[in-house]
């Protein structure tokens, strides 16, 4: 602190200052006063009143006037001089609030329930919740469907023209993009899955002949049917 003698507080804030003596020291120029207000407002943990500014600044300063200049200087900047009650503070410009967020992206694996539900929708679309449950053999939680809707991988399709007019689910373009599919038709049927060794059967495949074949065939026609509906709307 030794090198800043020209503004040294000792000079103006020494104990029991004599008013006559003080007048010997001229108040700093307005530009300097503006700097002072700027530094005080910047470093303060809470808004500072004009009185307090004047108390902290050297004798003869006019914090109110310095504030006018400072406020003008910060107009349109990323930081503003704002009045908070009777006091003053510096704040970041409200339109830049979005910068005060730091986004961290975390990638998680989709839960088993979610991916199964998604698979059923993809292969059977348009499909109702009841149908999904029938195929999966377990109830589909609301959260799972909501998650898939939120991810925009599924959306509501047309209502079924059956009693209760249940909503159906279909996959979205977003889904196709994510999985690199031109259309849901491109999803391989069970026969192909089996050929590719993707069926995680624990039984030797020879023991269950035919099952995949006929099922797969059903699937195909089903999927095609769904597709037509999907791409019609």
């Amino acid at each position: 602190m030794a090198e800043h003698d020209e503004n040294s507080p000792e000079t103006v804030a020494q104990p029991g200052p004599d008013p006559h003596e003080q007048s010997l020291f001229e108040a700093p120029v307005m530009a300097e006063q503006e700097r002072m207000v700027e530094a005080i407002l910047f470093a303060s943990t809470e808004p500072v009143s004009v009185k307090e500014l004047n108390d902290r600044m050297p004798h003869g300063c006019d914090a109110a006037e310095a504030l006018v200049h400072l406020r003008k200087r910060y107009e349109g900047r990323g930081v503003r001089v704002v009045k908070v009650g009777d006091a003053w503070a510096m704040r970041t410009a409200p339109d830049l609030g979005f910068l005060m967020q730091k986004e961290t992206v975390e990638t998680r694996k989709l839960s088993r329930a979610a991916i199964e539900t998604l698979a059923i929708i993809a292969y059977h679309q348009p499909v109702t919740r009841a149908e999904i449950e029938e195929i999966r053999g377990v109830a589909v939680s609301r959260g799972t469907v909501d998650q898939l809707l939120e991810m925009e991988w599924i959306r509501f399709g047309r209502r079924r023209m059956t009693p209760g007019r249940p909503v159906t689910f279909v996959v979205t373009q977003e889904f196709l993009d994510h999985f690199g599919l031109e259309s849901a038709r491109d999803l391989p049927g069970l026969k192909e899955l089996r050929a590719a060794g993707l069926l995680d059967n624990r039984l030797p495949s020879g023991m269950i002949p035919g099952v995949g074949a006929s099922d797969g065939a059903d699937e195909d026609s089903d999927a095609l049917e769904g597709q037509t509906e999907l791409f019609e709307d």
């Binding site: 303060s44 992206v105 975390e106 979610a114 690199g180 999803l187 993707l198 995680d200 624990r202 002949p209």
Partner: protein
């Protein structure tokens, strides 16, 4: 090594007379600031008021040894560093006093002294550097940070990933779950006796004439030999059951000839 290790004042003080204790404390005040032998040497060197590089190591060594003697006289415990340094200085002193022995290996007394001077100079330089560092403008004393920082909101964005493979595996899992029942049979190619019985019960009402058993095979079970075998066996077993029940009559004209059946009239009709 802290100063406390250097002189065990607390314990030794108990046994001393007041005069002794005062004398000891006087010395402690003197040595209180010393952190180690180099520090002490530096301070001793400074009392010679000369440039460290030109310092008389010999003189310094003598002063140091005198200091250690004095400290020992006060029965103060000296730390190992001080004693090692004392021994080394005594050795250095002897080297500097004696003419160099040309047969002896290792650095000469002058070289050792020069290095000691370097060490002292370096320590002094670090002390000065430390002082300059501490004299700098310091944060929180001369310059200040933002008083009211805005917290940066951590937005955790979670993206879920799934691969096409996982999707297909999930679907396969669901669709093949039914296959995992115990004792799974080839249901497509097996025509059970129950099925055959059910089928024949519905048909025999019209079978007034002898008809080949084979005509009772269900549609689509004749072409594939595997299926045909199963259907034939089931139908045959069913016809035996029906015959047992007295509902049909069976006949076979010759070995391996076609089996024929017809509705049995009369008894309950």
């Amino acid at each position: 090594m802290s100063d406390d290790d250097l002189f065990q004042t607390a314990e030794t003080g108990q046994e001393m007379s007041v005069a002794e204790r005062l004398a000891a404390e006087a010395l402690i005040v003197d040595v209180d600031g010393f952190e180690g032998p180099l520090d002490l040497l530096l301070t001793l060197g400074r009392t010679q008021k000369v440039d460290l590089r030109k310092i008389s190591i010999l003189h310094l060594a003598q002063q140091y040894l005198a200091f250690v003697e004095r400290a020992k006289a006060l029965r103060l415990e000296l730390a190992a560093d001080y004693l090692v340094m004392a021994a080394w200085l005594a050795f250095l002193k002897s080297r500097l006093l004696l003419p160099p022995d040309p047969t002896e290996e290792g650095p000469s007394g002058e070289e050792l002294a020069a290095h000691l001077a370097f060490q002292l100079e370096r320590l002094q330089a670090m002390r000065d550097a430390a002082a300059r560092l501490m004299a700098r403008d310091q944060r929180g004393r001369d310059f200040f940070v933002r008083g009211l920082p805005e917290t940066v909101e951590r937005v955790r964005k979670i993206t879920y990933s799934a691969t096409l493979l996982e999707l297909m595996q999930a679907y396969s899992r669901i669709r093949t779950r039914d296959e995992f029942r115990p004792f799974v049979m080839d249901r497509d190619s097996v025509f059970t006796m129950e099925e055959a019985l059910g089928r024949m019960r519905g048909l025999i009402g019209f079978a007034g004439k002898w008809t080949d058993l084979e005509t009772y095979l269900p549609d689509g079970w004749s072409a594939d030999p595997v299926r045909r075998r199963s259907a034939t066996a089931a139908t045959f077993a069913a016809s035996l059951e029906l015959a047992k029940e007295g509902k049909v009559e069976l006949r076979q004209s010759d070995t391996f000839a076609p089996i024929q059946l017809r509705k049995r009239e009369g008894r309950d009709g």
